[in-house]
Amino acid sequence: MVKLLAPGGSLAMACTAIDEGADVVYVGPLGFSRRPYESEMNDADIKSAIAYAHANGRELLVVLNTFPSPFELPRFLAKAQLFAGYGAAGFVITDIGALAALRRLLPETALHVSIGSGISNARDTEFYRALGADTIILPYRWDVAEIAAARAISNIALEVFLFETVQTGKICPGKCIMSSYLRFREWLQVEQQDSFHGSANRGAKECYRVCQAAWQFGPSDAPPIDLRLRRDARLMLEQLPRFIAEGVTCFKLSGRERPLPMIRDLVRFYRKAIDSVQGGAVNLDHYAEELAELRARWVREKSKRVDTLMDRAASYAA
């Protein structure tokens, strides 16, 4: 069975995603999931979300995809044990040391490898499988050839974002620390703890999307050109039948930081589409108009979000 994974940026969003047909929702605890405050959840809300998922016959994954500081590793692992005790089905992990430690501590839990692992070839998937990972999310840019190569080399389950690539450019996340080189927020003043040094990779909560800023580029002695470092992937659909045929078992919708109505509508849309493919459909053209409207909404929301983050960055000292 192919699963639809949906974001729970808040308890309300998690419950809505379940109501709309997500098989699994994923949520991030404060400080451990690369998102700002408003898109992470406190422990009590995570417990409630797990209970809601169970009551509806669904599952919940907890995102622990930061690279922890060596000093916070015990707290990181204790958090995982706490959520496992609440009934979390598994975890989304990036750091290989943490992943191996969790496999030892929680032998029955499901371990998903986060996009932050920055894999680039099929041998990487094999590495994570050998560490004890159950599922790995594939980079946006991968298509059926890469999926087939990963399937041929390892029996790790494959998860794919519901995006298609429209770009080359910088690898992100997992291989980028530009944001914290340029700006850094003093989290000690905000949280009474200072374990968030560095980028969102480390739990600093805010990647300022410096790649989306207006940059000028060129050699020192020539007039610069105006550009952005990368463009975003866009919502995808037509690939679903062939990805499922190649053995993809999970489709992941990102967007914990998006407005709840947007996630509600996207989960509803992709639930329909996945059910349709599992029912035998190979042509999804009849969804084109609905997809176009959702894509436009997605881009509008993204733009607002980037503006907010850039404004925040500007307000912090260098």
Partner: protein, 312 residues
């Protein structure tokens, strides 16, 4: 007593630069296989580079391509096979898939984890030891306090970058080629190596100046605009027990490694001899002059990477 190392991407760089201050050289450019005569992608150049380094009494470490795709794997494996026939002192590996490859080949060559290997904790260091990793390049975001803890609580060495631009992001495609004027040769997919000329990314202020954000771009890798510098803190690094130090040389002029290396050789020898509180002013002046955008400390003192904090 200590090891000071740097990098040289090809035989020309190795011949033209002054590497006499260094104990070891990382050979190759791990970010761009297309770079001219790159040791990381030209198996036929390995022997010549290795012999030149060895003739100078230095150790030679070979850098492997950091982000190989499935498509790259055949030539990367050929390069590894060629290198295994030679006597490199270590391979630098950034990609976890390549750790599997080396393990399968039963390679006994020590492995150094590269900067894009994402080493953040001592637990990860312990795990990597099982893959033959003997030294790690900590992620640049780590503070000195965290790096010291990792060094004290893991069974492998820690390489401490002490000077040069900080690798911030890597890409499988060339950013310079993608944004080159269509009239130039490399716009058609044939690289004419525009990266041999410095390229900068700058973000301006509202007043039109371009002094707000600045990064250096070498095509497939973006580096900090400022040069990370720890020369003022050499005493502390020695007191913390570090013994392997590195100067980042990728994308720099031919005289950079020599001039920076001489300064750090002197500063570290003085620090290891217990001569504390050296006057760093002349060194800082020269290092500052070598850096277009000024100096920073990276993340070592728990702040934004481009900040600089002096000894006092």
């Amino acid at each position: 007593m200590f090891e000071l190392s740097t990098d040289a991407c090809n035989i020309k760089k190795l011949r033209d630069g002054d590497f006499s201050a260094y104990n070891a050289i990382y050979l190759g450019d791990f970010s761009c296989p297309e770079y001219p005569q790159n040791f990381s992608s030209n198996a036929n150049k390995l022997k010549e580079g290795l012999e030149l380094v060895k003739s100078r009494g230095q150790k030679a470490y070979l850098r492997l391509y950091a982000v190989p795709s499935n498509h790259d794997m055949p030539w990367v494996l050929d390069l590894i096979d060629a290198a295994l026939e030679l006597s490199f002192d270590a391979f630098e590996v950034h990609n976890l898939g390549l750790l599997r490859v080396l393990q399968e080949k039963k390679s006994t060559v020590p492995v150094h984890l590269g900067v894009f290997g994402n080493l953040y904790t001592h637990e990860t260091a312990k795990l990597l030891k099982e893959y033959g990793v003997t030294r790690v390049y900590p992620n640049p975001e780590l503070s000195l306090k965290e790096i010291s803890y990792i060094a004290d609580n893991s069974p492998i060495d820690v390489l401490l970058p002490v000077h040069g631009k900080i690798p911030l992001v890597i890409s499988e495609t060339c950013f310079i080629m993608e944004h080159t004027d269509n009239s130039k040769p490399c716009a058609n997919g044939v690289c004419s190596f525009p990266c041999l000329e410095d390229h900068w990314l700058k973000r301006g202020r509202d007043d039109g100046s371009l002094n707000d954000w600045s990064l250096k771009d070498t095509g497939r890798m973006t580096l900090s605009g400022k040069d990370m510098c720890l020369v003022e803190h050499a005493d502390m690094l020695v007191a913390e027990g570090f013994t392997a130090f590195y100067v980042q040389n990728k994308g720099e002029a031919d005289d950079y490694a020599g001039r920076v290396g001489a300064i750090y050789r002197a500063a570290l020898e003085r620090a290891f001899a217990g001569q504390k509180d050296a006057d760093c002013t002349p060194w800082l002046t020269e290092l500052g002059a070598l850096s277009q955008e000024g100096l920073c400390n990276g993340y070592y003192f728990e702040g934004a990477g481009q900040r600089y904090i002096g000894r006092n």
